[in-house]
Amino acid sequence: MENHDENKEGIGGMINPRRYGIERVAYLLMRLSGLGLLAYFIGHIYETSSILKGQVGWNEFLALTQTNEGHAILAIVIAMCVFHTVNGIRVMLGHGGVGVGKPARPDYPYIPASQNARHKMGIYSAIVLAAIAMMYGLAVMFGE
C-alpha cells in the first residue's frame, strides 16, 4: 500500500532493477544472494545438527541433498556464493574509494565516473563466473 505521508517507493522500488542500469541489477543480485546464502547457512547448521541423531539420522538427512531438487538447490547456492564473493570484492574496493574515478569538472552529458567500465566489467565478470560455476556444479552433480 502506498504511503502518501512519505511517498516512499518501498521495497518494490528498492528491488526494481529495470531503471538504473547494470549497477542496480548487481545491487539486487547482491541482496538476493546474501539472503539466499544466509538461508543456506541456517539450513546447513540444521542439517549438520542431525548428526546428533546418530548415523542413521545423518544419512537420512544427507539423502535429501542427493535428489534432483537437492542438486538444483546446491547449484543455485554455488552461483550465489561465486556472485556474492566476486561482486563483494568489487563493492568493498568501491567502498574504500578504489576504482571509482577521480573528481573533475563535469562536462555534459555528465557520464558519472563512479559508474565506469571497470566496475561494469566487475559486475559482468561476477555474473559470468557465477553462471560458469553453476554449470560446472550441475555437470558434476547430474553427470554421474
Binding site: E2, G10, M14, G96
Partner: protein, 255 residues
C-alpha cells in the same frame, strides 16, 4: 530597395512540426482530501525542443490551471522542478519530450518526498539533512581575521571538490536511491556528497566533525553503492563517487 521578410513571416514560413503530439499523463493527488493518486491525460503538441515543463505549463495555461508544479529558472539551475518522468527522476525543465522517445509521458511527484499536491513535494527533510552535515567551511580563523587576504588554493586543490559544489539541491539523487526508498532516517546521497564537498576542500578544518556526524547506523553505512544517485544527477555531481571517497576516510583507505 530590397524587401526583407519580417521575423514573423520567416517564422510563418518555417514548416511547423507541431502536428506531433504526445499524451501527457499528470498525477493528481491532494493529501488533504484524496485517498489515492489519479491521472489526468492531455494531448499536447510539441516541437523537438519542447521540454516536459513547457508541456505541463501548456496544460496549466489552456486546460487545467489547478495542476500544482514547482518551477523557477527553467534552465536546470534552481533545482525546483524535479519529478518522476516516465518512471525516472528528472528535471522537467531539462528533459526534452523528443528525447524520451515515447508517445505517452507520465509525470508524477518525486519518490521518497512527501507530496504537497500533484507534482510538488516537500523539501524540508532534504534541507534538514543538508544542514546536518554543516555545509560551510569550518575553521577557527576567517578571511577577515587572518593576516592573509584570502585563503589561496591551487587549481589541483579546487579540482578535488568543485564537481561536488555543482549540487543544486534538486533531490533527484535522493529520489533514485534504493536505501531512501525504505529508510526514512537515512541521511541520503545529497547530504553525503555535500559532506565530501567540504571534507575535500583544503580550506576546511571540519573533517573529523563531519565524519562523526555521518558515522551512524542511518548514515554513510546505509549506502550500498548502487550508483543510481549519480545516474540521475542533472549537474554531473556524481554523489556515489563522493560517498565512496568519504567512506574511504572512515575505513582507512584515505587520510
Amino acid at each position: 530597395m530590397t524587401l526583407v521578410p519580417s521575423i514573423a513571416e520567416e517564422q510563418a514560413s518555417t514548416p511547423l512540426s507541431s502536428a506531433k503530439s504526445i499524451t501527457l499523463r499528470i498525477a493528481r493527488f491532494n493529501p488533504e482530501h484524496d485517498g489515492e493518486r489519479k491521472f489526468m491525460e492531455f494531448t499536447i503538441p510539441y516541437e523537438k525542443w519542447t521540454t516536459v515543463l513547457e508541456a505541463i505549463l501548456e496544460v496549466k495555461k489552456h486546460f487545467d490551471h489547478s495542476v500544482a508544479v514547482r518551477y523557477s529558472c527553467r534552465q536546470a539551475t534552481c533545482g525546483s522542478c524535479g519529478m518522476m518522468i516516465n518512471g525516472k527522476p528528472r528535471l522537467a525543465c531539462f528533459t526534452k519530450i523528443s528525447e524520451l522517445d515515447s508517445d505517452v509521458i507520465t509525470v508524477e511527484p518525486m519518490n521518497n518526498f512527501p507530496i504537497i499536491r500533484d507534482l510538488a513535494v516537500k523539501f524540508e527533510r532534504l534541507f534538514d539533512t543538508h544542514h546536518k552535515i554543516k555545509p560551510y567551511l569550518i575553521r577557527d580563523d576567517s578571511e577577515i581575521t587572518s593576516n592573509e587576504k584570502e585563503f589561496l588554493q591551487t587549481p589541483e586543490e579546487v579540482e578535488q571538490y568543485i564537481q561536488f559544489s555543482n549540487c543544486i539541491k534538486c533531490g533527484l539523487c535522493n529520489s533514485a536511491c534504493p536505501t531512501m526508498a525504505t529508510d526514512s532516517s537515512f541521511v541520503g546521497p545529497q547530504a553525503l556528497a555535500q559532506a565530501y564537498r567540504y571534507v575535500a576542500d583544503s580550506r576546511d578544518k571540519g573533517k573529523d566533525t563531519r565524519l562523526k556526524i555521518i558515522d551512524d547506523s542511518h548514515g554513510i553505512w546505509r549506502c550500498h553503492f548502487a550508483g543510481s544517485c549519480s545516474q540521475v544527477c542533472p549537474k554531473g555531481v556524481d554523489p556515489a563517487m563522493g560517498i565512496q571517497f568519504l567512506r574511504g576516510y572512515l575505513l582507512g583507505f584515505r587520510s
